[in-house]
């Protein structure tokens, strides 16, 4: 590898299962040492993309390189340079913590002199010190996930693919897991991590939003909020949220309206006056709190981007 080639580069990556297009012409560049969050609803194509990049699924079209190696032509070299955590827990429940680590250490041919130290590191990282001889099936979810991460990084791979590593794990364990991800990134490991927790996306350097097999936006959380929303976001409360939502969908200057919990988030076209919105609601016999500008969350961005209406050109 000369210069600084991207850790992951995909061009037109496509996967079809029969007539169903799971991933459609996806382009992706991830620089060395980046933590990129892969966000999207279930079935959006996150797992399929990650599996293609790991060489587990053969792309129907397009190309990709991982750590500089072609995923179709040199899959074994790719596999030696990646760590992978699948969505479903996939270590051996009938082996102990140490036996699982030793097994993957053997598969990755971690030098014997180094293996002991690497295993100790993984055990410490997973918080399993003293439980090396426990059968893995007896561990709670959070420990299992951290052990899976430990197995995936035994051979110090430069690129890590983590497919929903925190799904089904309690919040405290999720936070600890993200701390681990950041300490790995600090050591120069490139990480592509998928999640459907929007709050986790904020921990990433960049976010790739994917829906129905399409990459619909990529950028830092800040960039996405500023650039991709394409307008000002206001929030209001109404005792009749359903009626209010219906009315707002036809209101002048309203690009998009959606219910968020007990509130309504309304995206206004640039230059629309928020006060006019309040008057519009009152004119329709609806009561509502005065609209107040809010900082959009990634969820707002996501809802906006996957909605039908095209965004007005901004920036």
């Amino acid at each position: 590898m000369n210069g600084a080639p991207p850790a992951v580069q995909a061009r037109g990556l496509t996967k079809r299962f029969g007539a169903f297009v799971a991933v459609d012409a996806l382009d992706l560049d991830i620089a060395k040492g980046e933590v990129v969050g892969f966000i999207g609803p279930n079935g959006a194509g996150k797992s399929t993309t990650i599996r293609m990049l790991c060489g587990l699924l053969r792309p129907s079209a397009g190309t990709a390189t991982v750590a500089g190696y072609d995923i179709v032509r040199e899959p074994e070299t790719v596999r030696a340079h990646i760590g992978y955590m699948s969505q479903k827990f996939s270590l051996y429940g009938d082996l102990t913590v140490a036996e699982n680590l030793r097994f993957f250490g053997g598969l990755y041919r971690v030098p014997r002199a180094e293996l002991k130290e690497r295993m100790a590191f993984a055990v410490t990282m997973a918080g399993l010190t003293g439980r090396e001889d426990a059968l893995v099936r007896t561990l709670a979810g959070g420990w299992k996930q951290r052990l899976a991460l430990g197995c995936a990084i035994l051979h110090r791979p430069p690129v890590l693919f983590l497919d929903e590593p925190t799904s089904g794990v309690e919040p405290e364990a999720r936070r600890r897991f993200w701390d681990l991800i950041h300490s790995l990134a600090a050591d120069g490991v490139t990480i592509l991590v998928s999640t459907h927790y929007m709050d986790e996306a904020e921990y990433c350097n960049r976010i790739a939003l994917i829906a129905a097999g399409h990459l619909i936006a990529i950028g830092s959380p800040g960039e996405l909020k500023r650039r991709d929303l394409g307008g000002a976001l206001v929030e209001l409360e109404s005792p009749q949220p359903g009626a209010a939502l219906a009315a707002l969908h036809g209101a002048p200057g309203v690009v998009e309206a959606a219910i968020f919990g007990d509130r309504l988030h309304v995206l206004l076209a640039p230059g629309t006056d928020a006060a006019a919105l309040a008057r519009f609601l009152v004119a329709h016999g609806l009561t509502a709190t005065p609209p107040k500008p809010i900082i959009p969350s990634l969820e707002d961005v996501f809802v906006r981007l996957v909605s039908r209406k095209p965004a007005p050109e901004a920036a």
Partner: protein, 378 residues
């Protein structure tokens, strides 16, 4: 192929077998049960056929005839009958399978006319047993006939001339006692090995798919060959240990004569083990469910091996088409080899055809298994 990865897989697999009650039961209990069941249960010899005696004459000669029957190994007297009604009742109740009927004037007719008949009544609901019992009875009567002739000629001062009496002196080789156990037990070893070998490996890859561990496994640089040989190694060792147990039981417990070389036996057993392990592995790779793979392995090994290997049912008695199919059954070759090694002491050279057939089989199966594995979720 990298030895370190192969060994890592073999070690992991060994731990899993050790902790899996189902695999352990198949590996350890199945040979024991089958050997006891088939070794003791299956016998084609019919000895000590229950016999009712209906001696209507009760003369010195007739008692002599009865004695010839009951003192042989082939018949044992269970009842003495007095009337024709008794005879009918005894047969109806299944008290005996054969009844010897000696007519009232047996000895007088014989001495006066020089000939008379004895009657043997048989319960032929089991035709096989009835046929065999008939054979035994004919043998005893033929001997009786010969002895009577000799006595008569001696009594009348005639010397026995060469003309007119040709004696068949048959000599049985290899299984001198015509003991069917010597014929069956080596075949039982083939059945057990086929069953255990294919059952164990049928679970090994399908288990990884079923539990989801395969996804992690194929994301590593492990190759299909490393996975196959790594997984087969512990099962190969188990298969050989099971074979040693079964063969040892055959030789030392059932006293099947062993006349061949141990080397030949081990080599051919290893070949057969590779074939059956390969079949199970191939199924396991192809069918991603443990239940499905083990069921199909059972069907593919149990039925053809018991019916078409010639282990009890003689192949040359079967229709041509069935005989043709039997050439596809690997156990057929191994059963032939086992019998030859045990009873005849044949060398590898003597058994070139079945040995080469097994060799080809092993090569084809292992190659197919290696090619069937795809490192992909597609």
């Amino acid at each position: 192929m990298n030895l370190r990865r192969l060994l890592a897989i073999a070690y992991k697999e060994t731990l899993q077998i050790w902790r899996d009650p189902r695999s352990l039961a198949i590996a350890l209990l199945m040979p024991l049960m089958q050997m006891g069941l088939l070794g003791y249960g299956v016998s084609l010899d019919i000895k000590r056929v229950p016999l009712c005696v209906y001696d209507q004459e009760n003369s010195q000669l007739s008692r002599g005839v009865v004695n010839r029957f009951t003192s042989s190994d082939w018949f044992r007297q269970v009842a003495v009958l007095q009337t024709d009604r008794d005879l009918r009742a005894a047969m109806d109740h299944g008290d005996c399978i054969a009844a010897l009927v000696i007519p009232v004037n047996f000895s007088r007719t014989l001495y006066m006319t020089g000939q008379d008949s004895l009657q043997v009544v048989l319960d032929a609901t089991d035709t096989n047993t009835a046929n065999i019992a008939t054979g035994y009875a004919q043998g005893i009567v033929a001997q009786l006939d010969a002895d009577l002739n000799a006595n008569w000629q001696g009594a009348h001062g005639e010397t026995v001339r060469g003309v007119g009496t040709v004696d068949l002196a048959s000599r049985v080789w290899f299984n001198e006692g015509l003991d069917s156990r010597n014929f069956i037990v080596p075949g039982v070893v083939a059945i057990i090995l086929a069953l255990v070998g294919s059952q164990l490996t049928s679970l090994t890859v399908s288990r990884e798919w079923e539990r989801g561990t395969m996804e992690q496994l194929i994301s590593t640089p492990v190759t299909g060959l490393e996975l196959m040989f790594g997984k087969l190694t512990p099962y190969f060792v188990i298969g050989l240990l099971d074979a040693v147990f079964c063969l040892g039981t055959a030789a030392f417990w059932f006293h099947v004569p062993f006349r061949g070389s141990l080397f030949t036996l081990v080599l051919t057993t290893a070949l057969f083990a590779l074939v059956v392990l390969g079949i199970g592995y191939l199924l396991s790779v192809r069918i991603h469910s443990q239940l499905g793979a083990s069921q199909i392995a059972l069907m593919l090994t149990m039925l053809p091996t018991t019916m078409l290997s010639g282990y009890t049912f003689p192949l040359d008695q079967m229709p041509q088409a069935v005989q043709a199919i039997s050439w596809l059954v690997p156990a057929r070759y191994y059963v032939t080899i086992l019998r030859s090694v045990f009873l005849k002491g044949s060398s590898l050279w003597d058994m070139a055809v079945p040995v080469i057939a097994l060799l080809i089989y092993a090569a084809v199966i292992i190659r197919a298994a290696a090619r069937a594995f795809r490192k992909s979720l597609d």
